[in-house]
């Protein structure tokens, strides 16, 4: 190698050595793999057919290659969701089918995230709807949280790490979300009040490095960012 090549060779090593070691890399990987494993069976079943009947009716998971139910998992016959309960996502927790859900306070000033798999939902976290718009500095139109909340027992290692609840200002008409590498997330609006709009974004992958853009009804961008 000539002098320039030697300098580049040495310089790249010095630069690479400035990157700090990640002590918990294995645990982080396990968390990601666990999240994917937890959701995959449900995703496959959903692609074929998932029949969700009314309350107290069995959830039937159908194999892609079968015409009859392969597995039947039944929610508790006594289970009655609270008024206004909205399902955000299905997932499996140690083989038990569960649903992450949202309830919005009647006055619209707050909301709670919970999970149901039996008689009653388990509430993981409740939040106040923030002050929106130019009243904040910098102006704020969006907040995002994991659908199992920020305090739930599985928030870092469990399922649904790649599904986020976005809460936006009521003037937001459109939310676009992308993963770290530009892949669009699957976004759907789940509730709208005079105080906020609630959306679910399914990334099918890690949410770190996500970006989002929110626009009003006239197409004006209100906020756009990478996190």
């Amino acid at each position: 190698m000539n002098d320039l090549e030697n300098r580049v060779w040495r310089g790249l090593r010095d630069l690479a050595d400035s990157v700090p070691h990640t002590p918990d890399a294995r645990a982080r990987l396990e968390g990601r793999l666990t999240a994917r494993r937890s959701r995959r069976p449900l995703a496959i079943a959903a692609a074929a057919a998932v029949v969700v009947a009314a309350v107290a009716v069995p959830i039937v998971l159908v194999k892609p290659d079968a015409h009859r139910p392969a597995t039947t998992q039944t929610t508790s016959p006594s289970y009655t969701p609270p008024p206004g309960w909205l399902k955000l996502a299905d997932y499996a927790d140690n083989g038990v089918a569960k649903q992450a859900g949202l309830t919005v306070d009647p006055d619209g000033n707050g909301y709670c995230l919970n999970s149901s798999a039996g008689a009653q939902p388990t509430t993981y976290a409740c939040y106040e709807v923030p002050v929106w718009g130019e009243a904040m500095n910098p102006a704020r139109y969006v907040v995002a949280v994991g659908v199992l909340g920020t305090a739930g027992p599985m928030r870092n290692t469990g399922p649904l790490q790649d599904v986020l609840l976005f809460v936006t200002a009521p003037e937001v008409a459109k939310l676009e979300v992308e993963g770290a590498y530009g892949d669009p997330a699957d976004v759907r609006e789940v509730a709208r009040t005079t105080k906020a709009v609630y959306w679910v974004a399914d990334f099918d992958g890690p949410t770190q490095g996500k970006s989002y853009t929110v626009s009003d009804a006239n197409g004006h961008v209100l906020e756009s960012a990478i996190e």
Partner: protein
Amino acid sequence: VNTATEPEPRTESAGFDALFDRCFEPMKRLAFLLGADDPENIAQEAFVRLHDRWAALSDQEKALAYLRRTVVNLSRSRLRHLRVVRRAPRERDRDAASAESLALANRVMRDALATLTSRQRQVVVLRYWLDLDQQAIADTLGIAVGTVKATTSHAMAALRDALAQEDDR
């Protein structure tokens, strides 16, 4: 029967775990040298994707080649993604490190790398950091060996100019 000399059978997960232990940090540094703003995330994602395909990869060399390609592609996607979104990304740990904490030589090299095109940077990093030969670089980037040669030549000329300018400051 003396079984003491018999090696333990290798399991699927043992091979994957060994590769992770050996290559996670190098793959993270590869993403960093390619200019990605979150090399940790890219290395993690590369290993998740490798895990999905582990059964189809018959040996560790193929797995390593797959990892390299994935990190290069994810880094490229990430950089492209950053360019099209309006607001600058939040400063991350790497960037938060103050200029004082970086050796002058590191800053000079980092600035010189920043003058290269994306493809030039990829070729330089794969050649002079991973020590890959031209064929392996071509395979990783999905380009011809001739393109690797030409790109390397242009990149080194650009680096010579950039480093000379930095030295004159």
